[in-house]
């Protein structure tokens, strides 16, 4: 299959390793990966902060950038949920029915990474090796909007060397919420503190999730506390192989294109 990779604006700009890992993983599984160069953002941040009118042109750019793509995969539950649940509605509200329909068609071909692997490709063992104690945080939008269910856990359980520990209170939000983290910084931090307490209670080396945004939040909090536990995106774990084990055990995906 020819897979168009939507890196998402945050991953592209701040954590490109997540997109590199996603591409490497898909290629290892025999998929042809293309990266449409005109991609930018799904528009979610604008919509969720009240700038739904301004989001219309962002949606239009997204639709243009991915026009003609056979299937689109993104390493984010939140962005894919926005593509599925918000893009067409925003266009329709602005009176652009053609864009709304194009966005709907595109959404039908757009998948979150773990759902693409498990539900579309039918793979749970992606041949990864990751010798670490890992806990998994199900991000709200993959859990409640996309209903990814246990797809990420199925993938993690099949990773060689990985010790999966259950996260208490896993389904509670980490407190990120986009601009919520800034507009309601105190409440967001209180939620983050409780999430970190649960993460640290597992004594995991790594906290993983399917959204780089939530991980930037949890990871930013853990880093501020100088906690040893680090955050690693699910794609980076799944892309890791024996060849990727470096002297400092950093998660560098093996690129075998």
């Amino acid at each position: 299959m020819k897979v168009a990779l939507f890196a998402t604006c945050l991953v592209d700009t701040m954590t490109p390793s997540v997109a590199h890992a996603t591409a490497a993983l898909l290629q290892r599984l025999g998929q042809e990966v293309v990266v449409p160069p005109a991609q930018a953002c799904c528009g979610q941040m604008h919509v969720n902060t009240g700038y739904r009118r301004e989001a219309v042109s962002i949606v239009a750019n997204h639709v243009r950038a991915f026009e003609g793509a056979e299937v689109i995969v993104a390493p984010s539950g939140s962005c894919v949920a926005s593509i599925h649940h918000q893009q067409a509605a925003v266009a329709r509200r602005a009176g652009d029915e053609a864009l709304a329909q194009a966005a709907e068609e595109l959404a039908g071909r757009t998948h979150e990474l773990s759902q693409f692997l498990v539900d579309v490709l039918g793979v749970t063992d992606v041949g990864a090796y990751y010798p670490h104690r890992v806990t998994y945080h199900p991000t709200c939008h993959s859990l409640r909007l996309l209903r990814v269910g246990d797809a990420p856990l199925q993938l993690l359980r099949a990773v060689r060397g990985l010790e999966l520990v259950e996260l208490p209170g896993a389904e509670q939000c980490c407190g990120f919420g986009g601009t919520f983290a800034v507009k309601n910084a105190d409440t967001s931090t209180a939620m983050l503190t409780d999430k970190m307490a649960n993460v640290l209670g597992t004594h995991a080396e790594v906290c993983t999730a399917g959204d780089a945004s939530c991980l930037m939040h949890i990871g930013g909090g853990l880093s501020r506390l100088r906690a040893g536990t680090r955050t690693v995106h699910l794609a980076e774990i799944l892309a890791s192989t024996e060849e990727a084990v470096t002297p400092d055990q950093k998660a560098i995906p093996a690129v075998t294109a």
Binding site: N48, R52, G220
Partner: protein, 493 residues
């Protein structure tokens, strides 16, 4: 239905200066104080996790829960579509059974009507059944201003009233208090209370019971709310746990019920759905202990005078909002409060309205007009837990996002110059709509590398609004190349 059908000039919101729909502070400011109250956090954390667990158990045992939710939603949608007809039918049926129906445009009118009705009986005391509508309009304050004594009889409302506090939860108004705090309030405020009163729940309940019993027996007027008003028979219902409501609804000579207009259901048959959805969602019980139902007056049995006050107070304005009107489907179970991670930490008082939590964050701004509760639509991380548990499947996150849009657009209309935030978001939108501009903007973000001077994270002290992030979390230093840039370079053929 339009406002004209109700004989109203336009679509007024709940008026200012009366009732409890607006807070003195914005949500972030109020929450900042509440978050520092460790006792509050402990009380709320314990109470909400207990109710969450009970709800999950009793909902889990019904194989047709999702169908029930869908039925509840469908019934409410159909009812709202012909609300005017159902309300008129309710009025006809209540009147035919000897009741008197009053229409109150807003809180002021409702308070005036109830005060006048109480004064007409010649009594100076009123007992009350727990009711959100009367809390919303500030009825107690209005009655007290007219020289009347008001006694809340619901145990938690009594705790709040004696403590000169305000409710912080729809179902459990005193959820922010623990047993030790309740003992202290009772010991200080109940006349003649046993000086050896302990914080044993049974002892506390018995002390309240002794205090209330006297008032029930001498009360000549009771005021209640209503969970449902059945149009076809003119029947009002109150669903409760303690039996104090039943006492108020049966002992006094006069009963006055204040009901929001959205509480009407067309037929008795509809209660089959709602009386399953409500107790399981609210108290986590299969069935609530007391369900009282009455229609008009019955000679020689119960109150001989019955008044129904139908309250709008902004509800018609909510109904006019195509996205937001779903909030009127709410049956006040408070399941959304109990699962909300924001409510659990910031507490009900932070919302500044009698309707706290996720449903309050959508309902309050729509009742008052979004400009009067502008911070509430943002008081959510949009995690979606509220939508999942709502027994009538109100898509609260989507309404929150919609109200943010309404607020941003109202601000843009009212100001000559755009806010700094609007300027930033418009600029960013422009960049994100044009790949060439977007790549320039991404390059600009890389200037963060200069600020971090080779460190993996940016400095903690950054200017607002980024400081909102960096006060409590590190922000990674942007990488030298974006993914798309590097990929494009490597795959140039």
């Amino acid at each position: 239905m339009t406002a004209v059908d109700l004989g109203m000039p336009g679509l007024p919101h709940a008026p200012r200066g009366v009732g409890h729909l607006r807070g003195a502070e914005s949500f972030p400011d109020a929450a900042r104080g509440a978050l520092r109250n460790g006792q509050l956090r402990a009380n709320l954390g314990h109470a909400t996790s207990t109710i969450r667990g009970k709800r999950a158990n009793v909902v889990g045992e019904l194989p047709d829960w999702e169908q029930l939710r869908a039925a509840g939603k469908a019934l409410k949608t159909a009812t709202m579509a012909r609300l005017d007809e159902h309300l008129e039918e309710l009025e006809r049926q209540v009147t035919a059974r000897g009741g008197v129906v009053h229409w109150a445009r807003d809180a002021n009118e409702a308070n005036e009507i109830v005060t006048r009705l109480v004064q007409a009986t010649g009594t100076s005391e009123v007992v009350k059944v727990k009711s959100m509508a009367t809390q919303e309009i500030g009825l107690n304050e209005a009655l007290e201003a007219a020289g009347l004594d008001v006694f809340e009889t619901d145990l938690a409302e009594l705790i709040v009233q004696l403590g000169e506090d305000s409710p912080s939860h729809i179902l459990v108004p005193a959820i922010h208090k623990n047993r030790a705090e309740i003992r202290e309030i009772f010991a200080r405020t109940i006349p003649g209370v046993d000086p050896g009163l302990t914080d044993d729940p049974r002892q506390l309940a018995m002390a309240a019971r002794a205090h209330l019993r006297e008032r029930f027996l001498r009360a000549r007027v009771a005021v209640s709310g209503a969970n449902f008003g059945v149009a076809e028979t003119g029947t009002l219902t109150v669903v409760e746990s303690e039996g104090n409501g039943r006492m108020c609804l049966t002992l006094p000579e006069t009963l006055i019920t204040v009901m929001g207009i959205e509480k009407v259901v067309p037929t008795w048959r509809d209660l089959e759905v709602f009386l399953q959805l409500l107790p399981r969602s609210s108290t986590g019980e299969r069935m609530n202990p007391y369900t009282s139902a009455w229609a008009g007056v019955t000679p020689g049995d119960g109150p001989q005078e019955f008044h129904l006050v139908l309250l709008d107070n902004g509800r018609t304005a909510v109904l006019a909002d195509e996205v937001g009107r779903e909030a009127l489907h709410c049956i006040r179970c408070s399941a959304c409060l109990n699962v909300c991670p924001v409510y659990e930490r910031a507490g009900g008082h932070s919302y500044g309205s009698v309707y706290p939590g996720p449903i309050g964050a959508v309902l309050s701004p729509m009742l008052t007009g979004v400009e009067d509760n502008a911070s509430l639509p943002y008081a959510s991380s949009l995690c979606g837990a509220c939508y999942d548990v709502c027994p009538v499947a109100i898509d609260i996150p989507s309404i929150l996002v919609h109200l943010r849009g309404e607020h941003v657009e109202a601000v843009a209309r009212d100001r000559d110059r755009p806010t700094a935030e609007a300027v930033a978001f418009r600029g960013l939108a422009k960049a994100m709509s044009h790949p060439r501009l977007w790549h320039l903007a991404q390059r600009a973000a890389r200037l963060g590398r200069l600020v971090s001077r080779g460190r993996p994270t940016l400095p903690n002290a950054l200017p607002p609004p980024i400081s909102g992030w960096t006060r409590s979390r590190d922000l990674p230093t942007p990488p030298t190349k974006t993914f798309v840039q590097q990929w494009t370079e490597e795959h140039r053929s």
